[in-house]
Each structure stands twice: as C-alpha cells, then as structure tokens.
Symmetry: C3
C-alpha cells in the first residue's frame, strides 16, 4: 500500500469522530512545558504509536536558553472569608497561572487583584496565562467571577512544586526508502485547550499511526514537544540530524471551523511550499497561503537563520486570530470532527505530492509518440491532456509537481498519466 492508496482509503466521517474522541481523552489533563501532565499525555499517545520518550534534565544549556525546573501542581484555590472556594483548580486547570510558585496565605483584595487575570470583553471566559521564565503566582478566572470578589481578604493556596527535574518530549521516527526526512512537529504543552494544540497533537498522532502501515519514500520524524523550549531543546541536541530534513510541517490549530491556512517556510519556495500551495489551490474549499513571518509557533525555531529548514506551518484560522485563542472557549465544542478530518486529508494530500514528486524522462522526446496505436487515446479527456503535458515537459527539468502547475491540472491527474505512460514504455523515472 502506498500513500495514494492510504489517501483513497480514508473515511472522512470516521476519521473525524476518531480524532475528536481522542482529543476528549487528553483534554482534562493539566499540561505544561514540563511535568507529569505532559508525561501522562505522551504515555497515552503511546497506546497508538511507539513513541520514544526523552527526558532532558533541568539546567541543560540549549543554545541561548536553559531547560527550566520541572513544574508540578496538585491543587490550588482561592477561598473567601466564609471559607468557600471561589476559584478552584479542580474545576478547570486554566484557573492557575501556569508555572505558578507555591503559596498559602491570606491576602487583601488589592494584593490579590494584582495576581488575577480576566477577559473583560468575554466575561464568561477564563484566559490561559503562563509565567514560565519569571517566578510569580496567579489565578485566571472569568470576569464575572472577578466582579463577585468583594471580600476584604482571601486565602490563596497553591500546592505546586518547581524543582530540578526534566523536560519530556516524544519522538517517533518512521524509516522510509530514503534517508531524507519529513518533519512533523506539534507542541503538547497546553492544558485544557482543544484546538491549540490538542488538535495538532492528535492529527500528528494519527498521521504517524497510518503512515506506519504503508510503504513510503521519505522517512518521517514526529515530535511531540513543549512549545518553544521543546523545539529549541530538540534542535540543540539533534543538530546533526537536521541535514536530513528535506520538508516539514508544524501542525497547530487544525480543528476549528475556519479555512485552512498554510504559512510558508522562511525559504518561501521550498518544495513543501509548492506542494501545500498546489493542494490548497485545487481544493474545493477556500484556503489561505501566507508568507513567513518570525512569530507564531515552532516554525520560528526551525526557520531561524542558523537552521533555515524547509518547514511550513499548517493550521486552520491562524495563530492568535480567533477570540477563543488561549481561553476556556477553546474547548471540545470549538473543534469540529469534519474540520479535523479535512485537515488530516489535506496533510496526507501534501505528503502524497512530496512522495510522488519525481522527475521523469520522455523516452520519445522527438515529436509525439503515437498514443492512438497504444490505445491511449481511448482515455478520457483530462487524462489525454495530462499525458500530452507529461510527455511534453518530461525533459529532465520538470518534476511532476512542476508539470501539474504548468498544466493547471491536479497532481493526482498528472501522476496517473505518468504511471500509464511508464506502463507503456513511453516514460521512465529519471535517476537522480
């Protein structure tokens, strides 16, 4: 079975449901860039894919950064003067400022307010906030809750630990016929947020699961890492492996109901950029292609000038461009099964282009070969034109993707034509 067979065998409805239910499983866990929530998440992914889990000790120097202490939390709440919990981590892990220091004291309302985060424009939503690299404590709550805090004093309690430990990440390498690799990277450090980025984690996981069942040209490397520090850590300790990365995608926010957005690699004209553009353009749905900019997700690290890897970012509504972003409204209802499966299929389609994008040589380059004699004019119209395009442009200078783009035809149409021509000894794969 090859990738085209895999693509054609996908049941969109089932795939969407499967992805959505897996997100539901991971949703309640309180993840951070280190600690037991992240480790538990990777362990659950291991049920489906043979993930290798790495631990990098706190204090390890990774380029300009240092792996931070490990953070773990048991409980946290704010109690009013009546002893009632008015904000409770057990009800939502978003209530805690991620990486908060432990605390247990009574504070007056004024002091408390300096440690509270709300969204006045969305009074029912709880924001998601972090303080990884600056020691602090705090709570996130809805603005409605905030307005109800009128007591003079409150007891704040955070049972958390910030200690030497390690940063965990998961890695899976699927060996292909070639050493050249496709990198798929997603961050797995967010607590109860469904689109950002459990959607990416589970689409990546399902991609790994399905690709492991087929014969593939490229080797595939999947990274499930904490954002920023995870990508920097992996790059720092695996620098020599980056030479094999020929294409790559950061997956993120792939389940919301917005259009698909592809953000180009810093190179801007890498093969992954052309492949993604082609799949988007020939999709029945509106898709957006945007240029690289040095912000967003971990493409920032992969596309830093010292690496400049051909890695783009695949998402639906882009980074930060929806109000639910980094709030409690990015919940299970915010991700749609049909959008998850649509993202999944489009990514497989991009990989199909990469896998099959070879150079072919026309074996009868002088004048057209006589297709009629071989019964090839009985093919339907688009296939006949595709055969003529493939023959005309297979002079060693054009890949199949180049031909599809110049002909204005779908890659799969051109691929089918190339295969028919090969079977009829009119075309052969160029030795590279």
């Amino acid at each position: 079975m090859n990738i085209s067979d895999l693509k054609n065998s996908i049941d969109p409805v089932k795939t969407g449901q499967e992805l959505h239910s897996l997100i539901g499983k991971l949703y309640p866990i309180c993840r951070s860039i280190t600690g037991s929530g992240l480790r538990q998440t990777l362990d659950i992914l291991k049920h489906n894919i043979p993930l290798q889990i790495h631990e990098v000790p706190s204090g390890t120097k990774v380029f300009d950064w240092v792996v931070p202490k490990e953070w773990n939390i048991n409980d946290a709440y704010i109690k009013d003067s009546a002893g009632e919990k008015v904000v409770d981590f057990k009800k939502s892990n978003l209530h805690i400022l991620n990486y908060s220091m432990p605390i247990n004291k009574t504070v007056n309302l004024q002091e408390l307010r300096e440690h509270l985060f709300t969204l006045p424009d969305h009074p029912d939503w709880v924001p998601y906030k972090t303080s990884y690299y600056k020691e602090n404590w705090g709570f996130c709550l809805s603005h409605k809750q905030f307005l109800n805090l009128t007591d003079a004093n409150y007891n704040v309690f955070i049972d958390a630990k910030l200690e030497d430990g390690s940063l965990s990440y998961g890695e899976l390498y699927l060996e292909g016929r070639e050493k050249a690799e496709i990198l798929i990277s997603c961050h797995a450090c967010h607590p109860s947020l469904a689109n950002d980025n459990l959607s990416g984690v589970l689409v990546a996981s399902l991609l790994a699961e399905r690709l492991s069942t087929i014969s593939h040209r490229y080797s595939y490397r999947f990274l499930f890492i904490p954002g920023t520090i995870g990508a920097i850590t992996w790059l720092a300790i695996n620098e020599e492996k980056t030479v094999n990365i020929k294409h790559g995608l950061v997956l993120s926010g792939v389940g919301d109901r917005g259009n698909v957005t592809y953000k180009k690699s810093r190179l801007g004209n890498a093969q992954i950029d052309h492949a993604a553009y082609h799949v988007m353009k020939h999709s029945a749905d509106k898709c957006d292609i945007i240029d690289f900019y040095p912000y967003g997700y971990d493409e920032r690290q992969y596309c830093s000038p010292g690496f400049n890897l051909p890695v783009g970012c695949f998402s639906r509504t882009p980074y930060g461009k929806y109000p639910e972003y980094h709030t409690s409204a990015d919940n299970l209802g915010f991700v749609a099964p049909e959008c998850l499966s649509d993202s999944f299929i489009k990514i497989i389609s991009i990989f199909e282009v990469l896998e099959e994008n070879f150079n072919y040589l026309n074996l009868h380059p002088k004048c057209e070969p006589q297709l009629g004699r071989r019964g090839l004019y009985t093919a339907t119209g688009p296939d006949e034109m595709a055969m003529l395009w493939v023959l005309n442009l297979s002079d060693g200078n054009n890949t199949l993707l180049d031909i599809a783009e110049k002909a204005g035809l779908k890659f799969e149409t051109v691929l089918r034509a190339a295969k028919i021509l090969c079977e009829n000894n009119l075309l052969k794969k160029a030795i590279v």
Copy 2:
C-alpha cells in the same frame, strides 16, 4: 526593396480579394494526409511559387510513427431501398469518413447507423471526420438527413483504395543573407474546409511569393504538409536542418472574423514570442496572446521536448474554439477577405521586427550627443523621443525590440530613429 518597403506597399483590399479567390480555387478538392487531392493542391500552388514536391514512401519509419498507406477515393454514396442516393460524396467530399476502406454492400439501418456521424446541435451541418490509423468506413451527414433515414436497408458504396504509395509534401526555401531560418508551416490535408486550413495554406503561399521579391536577412523555409504525420515526417528526415531554425510560425485558421491569437512557443520567451507580442500590442485591434500547451496544430511536433524549436502558432479564433470548426460551415463564406489580409499584414509585421531586430551601439555614450547642432531636434515629437531612447539604451545589451518595449514605442518608430542616428554617425550596428 526590403521588408519594410514590402509592408508599406501592401494593398489590404486587393490582398484580401486575391487570397479569398485562391482559397475558392482549392476549396472543392478532396484532400487527405496522402493521395491525389493533396498532390493536386501542391501542383496548383506551384503556379505561383517554385514549390519542391517530396514523396515519402508508405512504410517509412518516422520516429515513433510509420508513413501510412496512400488513400484515394473516386466515389461514395448511400442508396435507399428505392435506389436513390441519399448521401453522395460527389455533392460534398465531407460526406466520406476520410480514409474509409472500400465497401459495397447492403446493410440494415442499425448497422448503418454505427458508421454515420452527425451534429445534432447543428442539424444542417455536416461534420468532418477521419480514421487515418484505424481501418474503418463511414459517412458524415447532416442530422436532418440522418433523421430521414427510415428504410430497413441501405446500399453503401465506397470506391476507395488504401495501398502502398507515398506521402506528399511541398517545401520552398528562400535563401537570405543569413543561414538562420524562419520556418512557416501549414497543413494542407483537409478537404473542403476554408478556414482550417486553406486560409493558412494560401497566406503562407502569398508570403512566399512576396518575400521572394525582396532582399531579406533570414532564410525562409515554407512547408505545406499533411497535419501531424507530415510534420513528423519532415522533422525525421530533416533533423539536421532544424539547427538553423531560429524563429517559426505555424499558420492556421487565419481567415475567420475572430481576433488574432498568438500562441507562444514552448520556450515562451523566444524572439518570435516577443515580436508577435509587440505587433499585437501595438495593433489597433484586440489580439490575444496565449501560453503554449501541448495540443492544437503542428507546433505540437516542433515544440516537442527533443526539438523545442522557437515556433509559435498564429491564428485568429484558436484551434477548436468555434462551432464551425471541422464542419461544412467552415466554408468560403466563413472566411473574410479583410481578415485574410489583416492576418497577412500582421505576419509581415512580425517578420519585419525579426528582420530588423539588431543590436546597435551609441557612438557617444557619455552624456547626450548634441542633436540640435545636427538639426535632429527639428524632427517631430515621437521621433525625437525615439532617438533619445535608442541612444540611451544602445549599450550593447538591448536589441531594437527591447528598446521599443522599454520605451513603449512602436518598433517601426524606433527603427526609423535608429536609421536617422546611423546616418548622422551617432549610432552603428553592433557586430555580433
């Protein structure tokens, strides 16, 4: 006399009438890709131009193809049960499926219908159909005629021969001051069709006639060949001559009332492409420029990857884009004298650009030379600007066509300026 003089001496009305009347002369002949109709056509062209006629034996291998047997037809009809001819080749040579095998038998209506071709959407028109490479027999008729066929049985009679013979084509070489050639190719294999491609045949013939009366830089090679197999045959037996082909045009469908269309060579930026673009852009008429695609006329063969010649296709309404295409409606009324002469003049204008497109050198490249002292500021406005453009850009990197394009001026204006500057020793032709 040079090509500019020739261009300026054309009488559009007379030229249009002359071309239309010549088409009328060739229209009744039943041509095919081989046989006496084609041969007779070439003989008539010989009245005006010293065409050399070549015969290539049936069975000759030409690249992936073989020269087919020669087809000749005397008569063909369908008789109804009353013995009346309901379809008669003598009334229109389009009635016969071109390359039909001989037959003489009575068939029932059902069997007959499998061999009949009509155009239900245009019930008065007779289609033009061929079966060159698959042995078959058949008749083409109007859909109205078809609906009248209600007898149980019909007598079908085709007095044709398909035997070893030869493929004929005409060639004319006009030697120029340079060995570099301009190729003009047209197919001459269609029976009673006026626009496709008698218009091309006769415009090519008149081009040859007129160019033979002037002094020209390029050598010109005219080919009057059967479509596809003729181009393949010529290329196969004249491969070594193709190195001299520096520019070329396939002429086809140049007499209908649509806009002129220029289809670029596969190279896309050959000098012929730029020259045609320039002439079209500066024409008062709307013209279309389209990219190469591997379908259409014999540019398919000249632009196959093993040759990749700088050959474009000049037509009016493009290949297959008008309903009359390959039907009896492509008759003498479908081609207009004024459109024939317009095509003729535009092609001559393209050739004028090619003939005069040299590199010049400004002999006073540092600051402007003093035009006033030489009386050159008395020239009218556009010519003064043209002189300044020619002086400014004649640094060895720009041809006159490049200068015309950058200046937004007509080639002939820039050419006139260059000639005035040469006369005043301010400019000289670069030695290439």
Copy 3:
C-alpha cells in the same frame, strides 16, 4: 549628531519659511547658462555654504559639446511709434528671449511678430524661451500685450553681449567617513522662475548647510550648475570622480503643491531607488514612483549609458506636467513653504536610509535568543516584531532596508530594533 538626530530636529514650519524667503532673494536675478546672473546667484549661496566656484572658458570641448560664449544683458525693450516701452526687460527678465543677440533697429509689425513668443491659452502669462545654440533675438510677452501691438513699426532694442568668457558652476564637497559619495545636483540657470528651479537650488543649499553640521557616513557632493551644458561640463572634466558616486539625486521643482514624484535611475534597482520607494511608501502622503525615461532634467546626462550612475530625480509635479512650467506663473506664490519643507524632510529621510543601511549579523542564529531574559519583551509591540524580523533576516544577505521591506515596517523602526539588539550583544554590524 547623526542624520536621525538631524531629521528629528527639523522644525517644518520654520524650515518652509526659511526656504521660501531665500527663494525670494534669488528670484529677481536674470540668470542664464552663463554670465553675471548665474555668478551673482552662486555668490549669494556662498553666504550660507562654502561653495567653490569654477569657471570653464568658452570654447572648451566637453564630450560632443562646446562651452558656449558668455551672455550678459543690460537692458531690452520694444518701443511703439509713440516712443513708449510696450515690452520692458526691466519689468520682467522673462521678456527677453534668453541668449538674444544685441539689436537696435526699427522693424515693421510683421517682422517683429516672427520674434515674439506668447501663450494664447494663458493670455496673462509670459512664457520663458531660450535660444542658446542658435543665434537669434526675440521677446516673450503676454498674449494680451501681443494683441495690443497694432502700430506699423516698432523700435526693438537689446543691449546684450555674447562674447568669449566662461561657464560658472558651484560645487561643495562634504567629506564623510567613507569615500563613497552621494551626488546632489540642481540647475541654477533659470531667470525669474520660482519652482523650476530656485526651489531645487535652495533645498540643495539648505541640505548642504545642515549636513555640514553632522557626522555622516557618505561624502556628499553638491553641484549648482547650468542645466544640460553644466552637467555635461562637470562630467567631462571630472570623469575620474564619478567612480565614487554610489547614490545621487537631481533636485528640481520641489516647491509646488503637487505630490512628490520620484523618477528612478536608469538602473531601476539602485539602492537610491529602493530607499526613495521605501520613504514614499511609508509616507502619509500620496507619492508617485515613475520609471526612468531619457528626458527631463540632468539625470539625462548622469544616466547616459557611458556613465549609468545610480542617480534618480526628486521633484513634486514632474517635469513639464503643470501649465505654469516655464512661464511667469511659476512665481513666488506658486511655491508653498509647507511643500518646500516636506520635500526637504523626505530627502533627509532618504539620506537617513542610505546612511544607516548596513548589513548586520545575528550573533545567535540558531533558534531565537531568549529576549525575555534580557527584558526585551517589555518593548512595545511593533518594536518586538521588528527585533524578531531583524534577528531572523540578519544572515548576511539582507540589509536593514531589505529587512524593513520584507517586514513591511518603517526603516526607522527596524533601525531602532537593530540598535537595541546591538546594545544587547545579539547583533553586530557585518564587516563589508
């Protein structure tokens, strides 16, 4: 003080008033391409800047041209039969055809008319006409005046001298840290015309005055020359100096109320072209960028193919595109103080880009450096993005201007980010 400090210290209102009043001082003088009016103008400029005045003798060969005789005029008039002066040079120096030969005779109306120039479409305006290279005499007058000339005879009197002398021009060289030069050229040969080109002369003079007070990277060379023959003369006798000219602007018509127009150098993609484009694009005002054409002002000479210098032309309404051009309506009211200072500021902004457009190197090219640790995430939004862009693109292949263009940010924002990053040892200037 550097150029950014200079730019930020400009008071637009004061600057506009200062420029307008200086124009008023030079406005009454009768200038020409040689003679005492031009010399007097340069002497007045010397009050503010240490201009070096050069004299090139009549008869000197300069490329294809010869420095003409020197022209000086004392008085000129037309008297009617009643002895009344109906046209009087003392009322406006535009009344004389510039470079008129001396004359003193009575002519009949018919002969007189052959020497009169008017603007029938603007009956109150006096045109400005010259006859530098063809000996002639003549008067310019309003069309209203012309229609009143009904006497049979008139006395014409021109007390002028055309004798061997010299062509004068002013030059100022401000040495910078680098030998590479920015050329600023303006023509100073027009009599009472305010926009063309006293506006250019005085903006250039103020640029020289202000640039002499700061530390600058580039050397600046200012030329105050007669149009055409002055540029040709300077180029002919200073050919070896042109190798240092890395950027340049011809200044002309910089005081009218139209939009700013930048006409690109012949190279079309010189750094001055990019810098001017950038400043125009980020201006709050509509600005026009036009391609080079071989007409207009002295860019014709600097951009002749034998020099091809990176010199653009900065003006407001372009050369010849306003009805007041070369008429008495190009008076002091036609130039606006706020437009003069706007031109001045935009030119300084262009020079700021050139002065600060270095290549930088990211000292932490692998992954992002940790900005938060250095307190650099406290910067406001646009500066944070600018820092990320500068870090991401400072790989040795992009200048700051390239980065500003790719980021869609103002040059000054990117420059500020680069300086902050340098202070934090995250970036350093590349050694070229």
